[in-house]
């Protein structure tokens, strides 16, 4: 790997007079200056003057400091880092899609509307739910849309409710979303097997009692708007009493929201709509292979039951004969959730992924993801500690309990993996497992890659015993070593300023 030791900030390389973009010859009279003097652009302090060569080299060099799915296994649990098929990039860039303007009349974007409609139909079949919106921009935006649907549903039934129940193992976005939708969050405790506890749970250390689902429902009853539950949950365990949970919630007129971040474990295996879920989001950038892009853009469609359909964000695509149109006349809609219709180019990619796989391929992907995770589980069980021994699906969460004896933590293990050329798993999440190492290999990994990862994890466990200092010092082969995050937060430097 030819890693340069340092690529300066582009601002530091600026040479006034250099040009990276030639402008076309102006074929109309020059602009008259109509601006009030005080609103005229004075100048810029940072935008660099570079030529194309400089810029291309800069971004190529910077790119080499990144690790992507194409570099190797990227077992970031809950993030579903699967292969990003190149065909998806090609279809999203087809000029017919890429050059279509979002304010164009329906008659001129029949292809987009048809694709939207078809994608919705696929997601309805995969989730077993009755309606879908593709507007939310990411998983968290999908959650917010879903919780607002729940709110609107209650309002339409003349009910005001203030509480959303969320398990302690849930993604941080769940409580943050509920708060943004005006709800108070009450936490549901987990049982020893990782599932939601119906009964009260007593913390053995503190003796503190945490109320279980049944007590909370009894006490808060008509104040509960719904529950947000990840299934399979963040420890990879299917919430086996999900249907009962749904019935209990429906018994108090509350709704069940499912965080669909882990849908990669369920395609063709089980459908949320069949096990009592009222509304859920999907992550097209996880389950449906759209690239993660260094942090986005994502896409977070929401699927819901027939009872919630009328509240969906507008506009809604409808099919009339062979023609499609947007229906903007949706009096019960929660309103728009995106300036246009969401991250459409990501939907094109996901549709491409779906057509490539077909129903059979989607199920095969899920099954392979489950096999891969269980293979890792089997190979590393004993070497690393497993808090929950319940059957797991697409991911497996170990922890650093065994290695703690040698003064080694999850962070050390993760950093040592970097030296061996693997992206580490998700660490320290879910919070219910102390020192969690959450491994999600996805269906993309071959036996060869899995074995290499397993061997490396075993080697690191051995090093933890024999030579813990190596782990404390890791990584040493990366472009930078461990960074001082405390200093970064204490005296934040958040932009370059000319010296």
């Amino acid at each position: 790997m030819s890693l340069r030791t340092r690529e300066p900030l582009s601002f530091e390389r600026s040479v006034p007079g250099k040009v990276g973009m030639d402008l076309p010859k102006l074929d109309v009279p020059a602009a008259r200056d109509t601006r009030p003097a005080h609103l005229k652009r004075s100048g810029f302090d940072a935008i660099p003057s570079l030529c194309e060569v400089d810029v291309v080299r800069h971004f190529t060099r910077l790119s080499k400091w990144n690790y992507g799915v194409d570099d190797g296994m990227y077992p970031l649990g809950s993030c579903t880092m699967k292969h990003n098929p190149r065909l998806n990039e090609k279809t999203a860039a087809l000029p017919g899609f890429a050059e279509s303007h979002p304010m164009t009349a329906d008659a001129h974007v029949q292809g987009n509307l048809a694709l939207f409609y078809t994608m919705q139909e696929w997601l309805k079949e995969i989730t077993g739910l009755q309606a879908v919106t593709l507007h939310p921009s990411a998983g968290a935006a999908g959650e917010l849309t879903g919780v607002m649907l729940i709110r609107q549903y209650h309002l339409a039934h003349g009910r005001k409710r203030r509480v959303i129940l969320i398990p302690d193992s849930g993604h941080g976005t769940n409580p943050a979303t509920s708060a943004m939708a005006g709800y108070e969050v009450v936490e549901l405790p987990s049982r020893e097997d990782g599932s939601i506890s119906f009964e009260d749970v007593t913390d053995p250390a503190t003796g503190k009692v945490r109320k279980g689902l049944l007590t909370l429902v009894k006490e808060l009853g008509s104040e509960i708007a719904g529950a947000m539950i990840t299934n399979p949950n963040t420890v990879g365990v299917f919430e086996y009493r999900i249907q009962e949970i749904s019935e209990i919630l429906h018994g108090i007129d509350a709704l069940l929201y499912m965080d669909g971040a882990n849908m990669n474990a369920l395609m063709g295996v089980a459908r949320p709509g069949d096990f009592g879920v009222d509304v859920m989001h999907l992550n097209l950038h996880k389950t449906f292979s759209t690239p993660h892009g260094g942090g986005g853009p994502g896409s977070g469609p929401v699927a819901c039951s027939a009872a919630l359909e009328r509240f969906l964000p507008r506009p809604v695509v409808v099919k009339e004969g062979e023609k499609y149109r947007f229906d903007w006349n949706r009096p019960d809609s929660i309103g728009k959730v995106h300036a246009f219709y969401g991250n459409y180019a990501m939907v094109v990619r996901a549709m491409t992924f779906c057509l490539s796989h077909g129903g059979d391929g989607l199920k095969a992907a899920t099954m392979r993801a489950i096999v891969n995770a269980n293979y890792i589980r089997r190979q590393l069980e004993g070497t690393y500690h497993l808090q929950y021994t319940t059957p797991t699906l697409h991911e497996i969460v170990f922890d650093d309990h065994i290695q703690n004896g040698n003064d080694i933590t999850t962070l050390d293990i993760a950093k040592r993996l970097l030296d061996y050329g693997f992206h580490p798993p998700t660490i320290y999440f879910p919070l219910v497992i102390h020192g969690a190492l959450m491994i999600e290999p996805t269906e993309s990994e071959s036996k060869e890659e899995l074995d290499a990862f397993v061997d490396t994890m075993k080697k690191i466990a051995q090093e933890a015993k024999d030579n813990p200092e190596i782990l404390h010092q890791a990584p040493t082969t990366t472009p930078v070593r461990r960074l001082d995050e405390t200093a970064a937060a204490r005296k934040p430097v958040l932009r370059w300023v000319k010296a």
């Binding site: 402008l23 000029p95 017919g96 089980a270 094109v348 490539s356 960074l483």
Partner: protein
Amino acid sequence: MRYLPSAPSEDRALLDAIGVQRAEDLLGGVPSELRLKRELNLPGHLSEQEVLRQLEALAARNTPFQARFLGAGAYDHFVPTAIDMMVSREEWFTAYTPYQPEVSQGTLQHIFEYQTLICDVTGLEVSNASLYDGGTSTVEAALMAVRLQKKRNTILISQGLHPHYQEVLCTNITPHEGLKLVTVALKDGVTDMEDLKSKLTPDVACFLAGYPNFLGCVEDLTAISALTKAAGALLVSVTQEAMAFGWLEGPGKVGADVACGEAMSFGNKLSWGGPYLGFIAVRDAHKREMPGRIIGQTKDLDGKTGYVLTLASREQHIRRDKATSNICSNQGLVALRANIFLQLAGPEGLKGLAEQNAAKAQYLQSRLLENPKFKAAFTAPFFNEFVTRFNGDVKQLQATCEKEGILPGLDLSPYAENLKNCILWCATETTTREQIDRLIAVVSRVA
């Protein structure tokens, strides 16, 4: 299936190692009564060729236009070739959130540069790593202003904000029972200062003004900020066309406390509305209420400069229901396009592009106004969009243009009673004189 690493011998070896006969045996955790008892009712898998054919057929069902005069929040700018080439490097597009900074310095340094550039164009001090789009960045800016202005619960917005942003804002503010959303009217295409003054009551946390606004008019932020400052409210500028920053002074330098909006114009395709690029920038004093990810500079163990996610105690994965926002991702790859775009353009290129936009729009307006059926709707200065009143049948005008392969401006009739027969036109550096002259010839045929 070409994307699955399946081979009969290896599949068997994996199952044997796990100790199960069939993969289905691993589904023990899923109660059998909850499993799907049939195959998904979807078509079977396809080859690349077959998929491509289907998608090409769909793409072909969209009407191609030879010339576009439509903006309204989505702008047709030229995208330098280097951008597509750079972002298609796997290291950029197949990586995820830089949770492991040692192997994510590329992404982290890019975002640090992006933050610097957003601060530069907006004239403010702190930018985050980006938000979804102009609509949701408007929401985040308003909610942030409310957090900063404890005890003030009214969000005042100019009617000149993009109507879709207004609706997204309304969707997101409605669940907050304590918050009020109040609209200030327009006068001659810009915020009515008298109306603004009368509505700047002590409970107003912030005022949101378009810069330029939805009708293309340039609001005088300096004059507005004098009023908001006196009333103790924060001024939030909402820019739906970031290319205007090459023409207009950064909002932070002319009175805005927060700048937010849409920056898809920097290096992105229209793509039917997304993915686009929400941006937000604030003054340094306000950074701890900022939503979303922020990247900061620091040192590694050897004293070498590096970058990390920072100020994370604001975020959902730490603060859960007390977080400043629920946002988890950003628009990473879209922000990368903007970063590359601005570095290629350089300061002179950005100004030059903006001047070309203004020149084309002015030429388009002057040619339209040669036709007595068109009247300028407003007198305020504009950048690359402007409104004309049309003394004729707008629908017929649109149909005629579309038949000629021209995408005309936006019919504003549905948006407000006083915008009947008004059209919002846009021209950019990609618009040619020939296209404009052809448009003029076509519209002259409309009765």
